[in-house]
Subunit: 429 residues, 2 copies
Amino acid sequence: MALLVQKYGGTSVGTPERIRAVAGRVARAHRRGDRVVVVVSAMGHTTDELVELAQTVTGAPNPGAEHAREMDMLLSAGERISMALLAMAICQEGVEARSLTGSQAAIITDQSHTAARIVDVRADRVRETVEKGCVAIIAGFQGVSTAREITTLGRGGSDTTAVALARALEADRCEIYTDVEGVFTCDPRRVPDARIIPRISHDEMVELAQSGAQVMHARAVDLGAREPAMDIRVLSSFAQGAGQDDPTRGTLITRDPMVHEDQVVTGLAPARGYAKLIAHGLPRGMRTPTELLVALADAGVSVDMVTEAPDGQGGALLQLTVREDDLPRVREIAAQVAARLGGGGRIEERTGLSRIALVGRGMSGRPGVYAQAYRTLMDAGVEVEAVSTSSISITLLVPSDREDDALRALHDGFTLGRPAEAMAAAGVH
Amino acid sequence: MALLVQKYGGTSVGTPERIRAVAGRVARAHRRGDRVVVVVSAMGHTTDELVELAQTVTGAPNPGAEHAREMDMLLSAGERISMALLAMAICQEGVEARSLTGSQAAIITDQSHTAARIVDVRADRVRETVEKGCVAIIAGFQGVSTAREITTLGRGGSDTTAVALARALEADRCEIYTDVEGVFTCDPRRVPDARIIPRISHDEMVELAQSGAQVMHARAVDLGAREPAMDIRVLSSFAQGAGQDDPTRGTLITRDPMVHEDQVVTGLAPARGYAKLIAHGLPRGMRTPTELLVALADAGVSVDMVTEAPDGQGGALLQLTVREDDLPRVREIAAQVAARLGGGGRIEERTGLSRIALVGRGMSGRPGVYAQAYRTLMDAGVEVEAVSTSSISITLLVPSDREDDALRALHDGFTLGRPAEAMAAAGVH
């Protein structure tokens, strides 16, 4: 008798029909003899609608910090609705189910309203519930603070609740149900022969998530990676027919993914909306990038890639990659810092850029990967605007209008697509 | 510095604009130096919408007892939304406010999900909140059971929360804000010269509420009547301009209303949708009404008025007043009981009837009131189909198509309208 944590996102419970479908899935798992703990998000766009209500009432586009406590009270209503409805639907399947709020399930957080971190999970009540033969349904995204206040966990909150609960319960499996079939080598709408990655390591998944893969939030994966590591399976809640309850479908995020030695890249993640800024004629040395980065961090601007180089005229050249939205602020701050440092000449900008991350444990210690990525893009006629690397990833900045070409070329170049034989066997041509 | 409990119903917080208006009212009370505890219902039709969602998900027109726990979880989301929004709006007024769920405010109930009774209010956290100079906003209609489960209080729940909290806090005032200006002698849409009752006793208000006056629920008034009695003021949340913050407007429900000796009737409450059933030829004696009433109670049918009389042919005649909706069941049960008792002949029915309750402490010990009511209706040409009395009320059953005529005649006959001099002084003609 396995103990199972299943998380269902907002799309999976977006309508009464979908809630019933999830209830069927949960009930089948229960009838197979598993003890099931379900973590559920708010239905569809409930959270957005509640935020809009708050904006209308306060007359402010972004309810500020003074409203953070009440925003949490407000937003936590969302899961309360979905979890109660799901409990009723499971009950209609003839299986007992009880919903528990973040507070009832003792998801203890710090006091950072709207972006709380889980500090403890006292899962006794959840454990009692499943040991009585009930399905336990837990509100995702919310907890109770050490000051007995209702908190919400911010982005990726429900995934994080699921992984934290799975760890606290020492669950046998942690399943994240979503609206796609798993983690893909690349977005299949963009790269037609993209395939599901059957196994991926936590650290690779963190890189992919941070680089824009939407399927699961980096924060939750990171929590799963901590000792003792928790395997996480990502799979679709919309699967139907034979195989829909196959526990090996989707993607397993695991500590030891047993990748082939020759598999260098595991997946690609693209993200649009970047810009590049190049400041010329700055004083050389560490002080220039340091001051600029500190000033940007103080302004809350996150900088993606930084390159410093001589500008060929005795000064330094500093190249920054930032979100396009941040460009006006970055321009202003760069000019201020340059003026203060007594240097500063021309500032060049380039907008309409995309970031492509190549992620793979297999690239660690293989210097050729960098070169191969460059050559692949050169052969495809795509200009690389910037590049940065970590031990398991390479991030390339390319013009957004060439993003799809770059993705397909890299997907091909690193043989991420389904092998020809496998595709033929599967009837794909 | 007075401690004030203010309750705002669903209509009063039905839109963002109305929430802001309520926030203004609360903030003004706070600035006048009062400590304010607000009890709030769910916005407008939120509760109905949540019930509909539950119906769709369960596929059942009335989610049954097996869903009661989850219905409470679901419905309690409603106040969570309104109270958080109201707290933000009050904060925008420059006054600190904190919302507390029924559970956080320690509204302790029994374990009867969807119709829980308050068993205790441990108001420490509410008291601490107002003593810190914050407005405390409490979710109406909900509590936490002795088994640590979320419960809702059923009909009249938010009013009951307000009165229970006012009692627990020993509040100086308990104000029930609603969408009308107070308790009227009769519905002013039906009887043009109906006026606000400035003071009414708890027991009269209970009678009026039970007889169909919508303004406040009998259960909450009844709680206010218990020793030590809590005065309750009913007033409009939509009042504007000069006098909107006048603490003496509306109706005060109080133990000692100081009515004039000659004021016999305090108010009228009409209700439609009643029917009368007359069973002829039953065995005489107590057994007949007893068995019938027991059978109806077992079937969950509430009977309003019961008259037993000889039928003039050696048997008994039994007349029952019931809700029209219940008539088919009543007919069936009456036939079964009559057959079992070995009697039973013709069953007569009359539908399309209305109940009119005349309520007034002044009628106690005045036998003439009954006769005056009859004569008034006879003069107006309205037939009385049945009548019943209590120490402070007379209930008359009349044809619904004559209900308005009956109301106006009784309102006039018992001089409930504004005195002519007062109307002239107020510029009303």
